[in-house]
Amino acid sequence: MLAYAARRLAALPITLFIIVTLAFAVVRSAPGGPFDAEQSLPPQVKANLERAYGLDQPLALQYARYLRGVVHGDFGPSLRYRDLSVRELIVQGLPVSLTLGFCALIVALAVGLPLGILAARRRGSALDHGIMGLAVLGVALPSFVIGPVLVLVFGLLLHWLPVAGWQGGNPTYLILPVITLALPLLAYIARLVRGSLLEVLQSDYIRAARARGLGDARVIWRHALPAALLPVVSYLGPATAYVVTGSLVVETVFALPGTGRYLVDAAINRDYTLVMGMVIVYGLITLLCNLAADLAYGWLDPRIGHGS
């Protein structure tokens, strides 16, 4: 187990290095520079600008300098927001995105798990069909449809909740974005739990537990559920990747000042350094969460003896 964890941790910098290199190579070979969009600058001014940002040096040198910066947590200046460094922008935006993602994960687990268990226990009932119908819909509905529709219903028609904005993390402003982000996740988790619980309930050791005369509740809570939750644990890795992806949409729909919105703007504005910085930070978060989920899975499931 420890050896496995060490091996996975050792692979992390390699993957990160690939991400950094890929981001650098691809973004730098993009046609169109960050200073192209303005009215054409005098060549002298443009040359000065490029020198100020180090864009006139050979690519290999730029790459080396960039790598050294990244290791020290310095992603360079943003090319678009002139007075801010990429690091400052990330530090500004990350709390918003993390709050959003964390709340969405909690909500998805807190609602999805009970719904899945309920559906599995009442298999074939109207309740089961209802929950699973909603789950199919939840998985199929993309967040950029759910978000605007929720705003339309709860913000514009019913006037229950604010339409957009952040307001320093005021909880009422958080509700709709969190629901939008959590809904597909919640639906998927409910489906996952139902499926795996039903499968576990078929197994021999559950039959044995029932044969010993244990009650329904005890069989499910003590014996079936721990095993049935394993797929959910391993899903948490992809789930964070989903939350990261979803945050781009949710922050756009609800005009939240998070890193997801920065990434989209940066991509549209060809703000090279900001795109690279965001991709690296998001890549790191996704990789770490995947690693954590895999390790937790290995730790919880005694059948997996990694490389021992």
Binding site: T15, I19, L22, F144, L156
Partner: protein, 292 residues
């Protein structure tokens, strides 16, 4: 030889068709899909209004039958029926082409890896693992910043280029099994070259898997395209796609909910029908793992 082959191939597809016919839900979804796609292909020709034509006498009018704007118009007076239909067409086209790109790459990669085995196999699949661990969205965002935005070719190549990983894994697994089977052994004994072997003996046996995967890949690719277009990184104005129509609609929904709800409805209809049909096809073509 030849007669026997054709009977068994026909048998497989005939059986699949038979299993498919017993799924009324899939048949209905398929019919709806056909109608939507047909209307999307033909619809814009029926009204003779171009998707980017401005109608100054009808700015942001709600849906109505009388003046010909069946889905209303947007802020610039462009007919939303035509725009939605052209949007469906573009989204569908990108979905199909991106799936095709990812299938070609994935099937080739998987077949070569699975058939070569050993070092080559290990290296190729390790590459897939590394790419898998990269958040695919960033790869696409980087790819779309790389090239001139708005180019449809770039868009479906970018989407297809990250979608091939799953199919590569599936195909490799199947090829591993096929490579060890007796008929491949026999072909090898009579001296069939590797390329011919893959093309003539392995590929036909993968066709069921490939078709099943393709139909499930299309809705994913459509979703992906709309996602990018919604963010402003995909299809660019004035060209409509379901994604940027939904984005436009979301901005206007306070006064004009139809601008959001109509394209969103069509996107959902398309996705739902495709995944129902895809699921049914997978069950029909691959009866072994219909439980999954």
């Amino acid at each position: 030889m030849e007669v026997e082959g054709s009977i068994s191939a026909g048998g497989f597809w005939w059986q699949a068709g038979w299993r498919l016919r017993r799924k009324p839900r899939a048949l209905i979804a398929g019919a709806v899909l056909l109608v939507v796609v047909l209307v999307a292909m033909l619809g814009p020709h029926l009204t003779a209004v171009r998707y980017d034509a401005l109608d100054w006498n009808a700015l942001a009018v709600p849906p109505q039958w009388s003046d010909g704007h069946w889905f209303g118009t947007d802020r610039l007076g462009r007919d939303l029926f035509v725009r939605t239909m052209v949007g469906v067409r573009i989204s569908f086209l990108i979905g199909v082409l991106a799936s095709a790109v990812s299938l070609v790459i994935g099937v080739l990669w998987g077949m070569v890896a699975g058939y070569s085995g050993g070092r080559t196999d290990e290296f190729m699949m390790r590459a897939v693992d590394v790419l898998y661990s990269l958040p695919y969205l960033f790869v696409v965002i980087i790819l779309t910043t790389l090239f001139a935005r708005g180019s449809l070719v770039v868009l479906f190549v970018a989407i297809g280029a990250v979608g091939w990983l799953t199919i590569a894994r599936i195909v490799r697994g199947q090829t591993l099994i096929l490579a060890r089977s007796e008929f491949v052994e026999a072909a090898r004994v009579i001296g069939v070259a590797p390329a011919a072997m893959l093309w003539r003996h392995i590929l036909p046996n993968l066709s069921g898997t490939i078709v099943a995967y393709a139909t499930l890949a299309i809705p994913q690719m459509i979703l992906f395209e709309s996602f990018l277009s919604f963010l402003g990184l995909g299809v660019q104005e004035p060209l409509p796609s379901l994604g940027n129509l939904i984005n436009d609609g979301a901005r206007e929904m306070q006064s004009a909910a139809w601008m959001l709800l109509l394209p969103a409805g069509f996107l959902l209809l398309l996705l739902l029908c495709l995944s129902v049909v895809g699921d049914a096809l997978r069950d029909a073509l691959d009866p072994r793992d219909s439980a999954a």
